[in-house]
Structure formats: C-alpha cells, structure tokens
C-alpha cells in the first residue's frame, strides 16, 4: 500500500452567526434566542493515499465542499487533526506549512468566478510561481506557454482575458493555474459539473492524462456519480456532514452497504434505463442547523430500527477497505455470533 499523503482525524467545521444587537436585547428581555450553528462537517476521518483518486460524493449541503476546503487549508478547522505526510499540520514550521499550501491546489466549479476578469492569462497562471520563486520573472512567459500547452490551450492565447474563452477553455486555465505551483494533491470541487457533455469528456481526459504524466493525487468532489465512477479509485459518500461509507470504486457501485448509498445509486437516471419507474427516497435532506439525532439518515431510511435514532453509528470496516456507518452491520454481526440461539 502506498503512503498516505493527507489524513484528517475527527475533522469538525461549524459555522455560527453571532447575534445582532436586536437579538441580544431580545435575549436579555427573556426571549429564547440562541446562536444558530451550521454543522457543515461533523467528525470526519478521511485519508488520501499518494497517487490515488478519491471521489467524494453527496448531495448539496452535505459538507463535501467544506471538507475539500479544510483539506486544502482554505478554511481553519473547528476541531480535529490534519496530517500532511504523517505530520500534524498544526506543528509544521513556517516553510513546511508554505510548502504544503503549494502542494495542495483547488480547481473550482465556476472558472469565471475564480479567475480575475481583469487579468490576462499570463498573469493569472504566472503570478503564483513567480511570487513563490519557482520561476524567475524573465521566464514566466515561457513557463506559462508551456503550461497552456500541457492543458490543451494554444499558448498564443496567453495575452487574452478570461472572458475571451469558452467555459471549457476557462476551466483549462484554472487547471493550468493549479499546476503552475507544482502541486501533489489537487482538490477538484465540481470542476466538470458546469460543462456540456462533450466538453466535460475532454476535461476528464485531461485530468486522467495529467495524473499519469505528473503522478498527481486527486480529491474529486462531485454530485455526478457517473463522473466519479469513471475517474475514482476509491469513493467516499457524505450525508449531513458525515462520511457514511467509503469503499474501492468497484465495490462502492456494485455492492453498496449503507442504505443511503444504495438509495442514491438507485435514483440515478441512466441512459441505459428507459421510461423507468422511480422509487423515490422519502422526505427532504434535513437542515444542517438541526441535524437529526443518532444516524443522520434515520428519518428517511427504509430500514430504520431501534438504535438508529439514539446512537450515532461509527464508520467501521465491513470488508477490506470498505467502511460503513450503519447500525444494521452491528446487528448483523450480533445475530451471526448469536447464531443458533436466535
């Protein structure tokens, strides 16, 4: 097994909004008002190995983007420990921390809002490596030309502005910018979701080529399961701030364990299934302001039983490399050991 590149233990990220003056006054006067807290990431253990593609899936509001940002160091942790190549990030020296910052890069969903519209491509892509001393000022132009070529853009376009490119081309600029600082881990946050089918395929191919050429590691965040299935070695699925299942991609799609994973895979429209009947999961995704007790999925779960509302199930191994957080697995194990008496 290859070395673990980055690991999070018990990661927690909450967002709270302080009370405004009127609300504080109301509280003094006896109104029952307290700070509202969004539980975006609520105790996640995750590890990404050198050279692998980990797919991170889940529905909107499940915390997958927040988790990606925590790993990339774009957001501070509320609780938990982040390890970079086995070392606690909190204890890294200044230069080591800087090195890690450069080694983890993010590619966002909407390139138009992540590229400064008033800068030319050569500056967008070339600024970071120049500032960090990776290339000398005089060599930036050639360096950017080389990067553009690598991501499949005509190097002669480097004097242009972002609005002069199509959506797919802009996403390539975002990729070139991430590659410019020689990263080891790239967090792709819905990086191909906004693209048309034919362009999406071009960019996915580019991701796979770059992985091979540069030995990159990816955290591939997407709500699109067919894309994740295609590109990932392993998949983790989140629900309401928690990872509920993680498995090698083959196992994940062929033999999901968690009822939520199974339901999500069943809901997925596919070009192979025609005029099918949908068997919808009941109910709505609960608000992360007030997550349900116990297992967060229990109000919607078709297989709910006694412990689900009471205790939060731990993410536990059920097979080699396959982890799931569901009380059914414990119940199954118990009934197996109970054996003949049942």
């Amino acid at each position: 097994m290859t070395a673990t590149l980055i690991e999070g233990r018990g990661l927690v990220r909450r967002f709270s909004r302080g009370l405004d003056a009127a609300e504080k006054l109301a509280r003094v006067l006896g109104a029952n008002i307290s700070e509202e807290t969004v539980h975006a990431v609520e105790g996640v253990d995750i590890a990404i190995r050198q050279g692998e593609v980990l797919g991170l899936v889940g529905e909107s509001g499940c915390g997958k983007s927040t988790l990606g940002r925590l790993l990339a160091g774009l957001l501070p942790l509320t609780e938990g420990t982040l390890l970079w190549q086995g070392k606690d990030v909190a204890s890294l020296s200044r230069s080591e921390a800087l090195e890690m910052r450069l080694a983890v890069q993010v590619i966002f969903q909407d390139p138009m809002s992540s590229l400064n519209p008033r800068k030319r491509v050569v500056d967008l892509v070339g600024e970071a490596p120049r500032v960090h001393g990776l290339v000398r000022a005089g060599e930036v132009d050639d360096y950017v030309a080389e990067l553009l070529e690598k991501v499949g853009l005509d190097p002669s376009y480097r004097k242009r502005y972002p609005h002069q490119f199509s959506g797919g081309q802009r996403q390539r600029i975002g990729i070139a910018r991430a590659l410019a600082v020689k990263p080891r881990l790239i967090v792709c946050d819905e990086s191909v979701s906004a693209l048309d089918v034919s362009i999406q395929a071009q960019v996915i191919n580019l991701f796979m080529d770059l992985r091979e050429e540069l030995g990159l590691t990816y955290l591939f965040i997407s709500h699109d399961l067919s894309v994740v299935k295609h590109i990932s070695d392993r998949v983790a699925i989140m629900y309401l701030g928690r990872v509920v299942e993680t498995a090698p991609a083959d196992t994940f799609f062929a033999a999901p364990n968690h009822p939520y994973t199974a339901a999500l895979l069943r809901e997925l429209p596919s070009v192979k299934e025609r005029r099918r009947d949908f068997t919808p999961i009941r109910g709505e995704i609960p608000s992360p302001l007030h997550p349900p007790s116990g297992c967060a999925f229990h109000p919607r779960c078709p297989r709910i039983f006694t412990p689900c509302a009471q205790a939060r199930p731990a993410l536990e191994p059920i097979a080699d490399g396959h982890l799931s957080a569901c009380h059914l697995n414990q119940a199954a194990a118990v009934s197996l050991t109970a054996g003949g008496s049942a």
């Binding site: 048309d196 362009i199 191919n205 299934e273």
Partner: protein, 323 residues
C-alpha cells in the same frame, strides 16, 4: 389523432450589434396527447428558446421570424396578446429551471395559486383555494392545507419546484413545457419529481415537452427524443431508436462522450472542437467542422430523412439507409 402541438419551420432570431443570431433555425416537431418529448442539446443549441417561442415569451430584440406553431390547430405565431393570455396557464403551462422565476417572493403560496385559478375560471375564492390545496397534494407536498399559508422562502428547492409544478397543473393543461426543471435539484429530490411527473402525465393525458441537457434524465422519462444542435433538430425519434441506434454523428458523439457509456478509467471519447458561435455557423450542416464523417457534400444543407426516426445528415450511421 391530431397532435396537441405541431411546430413547423420555427425561426427565432435575435438582433445584436454583432449581427443576427439565428437561435432557432427552422425547427419542426410535434407532440401527441399523453406523450413526453425530450428536447435535448448542449448550451446554446436553442432548446430553451424553442420552448419560450411556443409560449410567446420572446421579447425584443428577439422575435419569431418565421414558421408556424399549431396548438390544437390554432397558429400561436402572431396571435393577439389577449388570446395568448387565455391560453397560457390554462391550456399551456411552463415549468422553469428556477422555481423562483415562477413564484413571487412576497406573496403566500395561497394568494399566488388562487390568483392563478381566478385568472381563468369564474369560481368562488373558496373553490379556488380548495383546488390549490388539492394541486399541492397531487405533487406530493405533505399537509397541503397548512403549506398553503407559507411563503416561497419557507420551502426547500425541491418543494418550491413542486409548488411550481402544482401551479402548472391547476388548470389541467393540455401541454406542459418544462425547461430543465430538475437540473438544480439533488438526485434524491430529482427522483421524487420525475416519479410525480410521469404519474401525472399518464393520469391526465397531458403532452409534455421536457427540455434538458441531461441525457440520463431524458432517457428515463421521454417517449420520444429530439436532439438539437446549433438551432436545428438534427435527429428525432423514439427514445430507444435515437439513443441505441443514433443516425446522426452528433447524437452518437454525445452518447460516446458520456462517462456512463465508457469502461471505468478508460479514456472518454469527446466530440472534437467546440460548438460554433451562433454568429459564425458553418454553412450547410453546422456539425460538419466537428464530424468524422464530413465530406464535400456536407457544405450543402442536409434534408430531413426518414419518418418516425428522422435525421438531417448526408452520412447517416444507420445501416441500410441510403445516404
């Protein structure tokens, strides 16, 4: 049986400083009662503008420049606004991608729905309220009686889209045009909506035009599919025919580009190049600059061939069809 809707040679154009944009460039199709037609294409292909044109929602600098839109035999092009207003919401309804386009944020759901009922039917307020409540129940909104009192911001995205669908259903229209109605929704919520829509379409015998870029959604829902590229329908036919035996190289290209149709980890097969700018479309077949089968003859406009499963291509991929 005459189709509910027949569109013939529809042309919708937008005047711009850079030139005339032919957003919809000679589109023809029809939809029968109880039928779900999936209108698919990539961004900029003209699929939404086609839907907007049918409802008379094109505003200057855009205009419907040619063709006919026959709804139950009556041509909607050039129809007086007053007459169109009698049809819209009553006989033809639309569901948009963003339900907040349909819903007024400062009015309660009840006010908006009752208004929509009274706009077309001379019934009492109480009766309108009962109909609104029943429509909410129909689309699977729990405790519709209480929810009538709520405002749009008190609903989740999926629930808002259900309200928008309920409003579209108020008058049991003969035709519903749905423009990417589940694109912004999560998979589990999308599954719920698709389930309701299928049930309602078959229950009421409505004709439905489902506009989407998502082939997976359209495949699981539609009876027939029309594929648009650069303002034209390049292929249309029964869902299975179009997706399993595509005749147009563009349709096949779309199918082959899908990760779901590739082996895991294998290279995908994107269509080379980019969609042409609507201001600089290649003459003849607009797809020829990206097409592997293109030849000299493609510089001429391909005629529509075939009935049932029809396509516009000089080099169709079907075996046994003369080019």
């Amino acid at each position: 049986m005459i189709p509910v809707l027949v569109v013939e040679n529809l042309e919708t154009q937008f005047a711009s400083s850079a030139g005339l944009v032919r957003a919809v460039d000679g589109v023809s199709f029809s939809v029968d009662r109880g039928e779900i037609l999936g209108l698919v294409g990539e961004s900029g292909s003209g699929k939404s503008i086609t839907g907007f044109s049918i409802l008379g929602l094109i505003e200057p600098p855009g205009r419907v420049a040619g063709g006919r839109i026959l709804f139950q035999g009556e041509d909607l092009v050039g129809l007086p606004t007053e007459r169109l207003r009698r049809l819209r919401g009553k006989k033809i309804a639309m569901i948009f991608q963003d339900p907040m386009m349909t819903l007024n944020p400062v009015l309660s759901i009840e006010t908006q729905m009752v208004e929509a009922v009274l706009a077309h039917d001379a019934v009492s307020r109480e009766e309108a309220r009962v109909r609104s409540r029943d429509a909410l129940g129909l689309v699977g909104i729990p405790s519709p009686e209480e929810r009538l009192k709520a405002y749009p911001h008190q609903f989740s995205g999926g629930m808002r889209q259900r309200v928008a669908i309920a409003i579209a259903l108020l008058h049991k229209p003969d035709l519903i045009i749905a423009d990417e109605p589940t694109t912004a929704l999560d998979v589990t919520i999308q599954g719920q909506i698709l389930f309701e829509v299928r049930r309602l379409a078959s229950e009421f015998g409505m004709a439905l035009i489902w506009i989407s870029h998502d082939l997976g959604v359209v495949a699981s829902l539609a009876d027939r599919i029309a594929v648009m590229y650069a303002g034209r329908i390049v292929e249309t036919g029964a869902t299975d025919d179009v997706l399993d035996r595509p005749a147009h190289p563009y349709t096949r290209g779309l199918m082959e580009a899908l990760p779901a149709n590739a082996m895991r980890g294998e290279r995908l097969h994107p269509i080379p190049g980019l969609s042409p700018s609507p201001l600089a479309r290649p003459a003849g077949c607009a797809f020829r600059t990206r097409c592997f089968a293109a030849s000299e003859v493609c510089k001429q406009e391909p005629k529509q061939q075939g009935s049932g499963h029809s396509f516009r291509c000089h080099h169709p991929l079907l075996p046994g069809v003369a080019a």
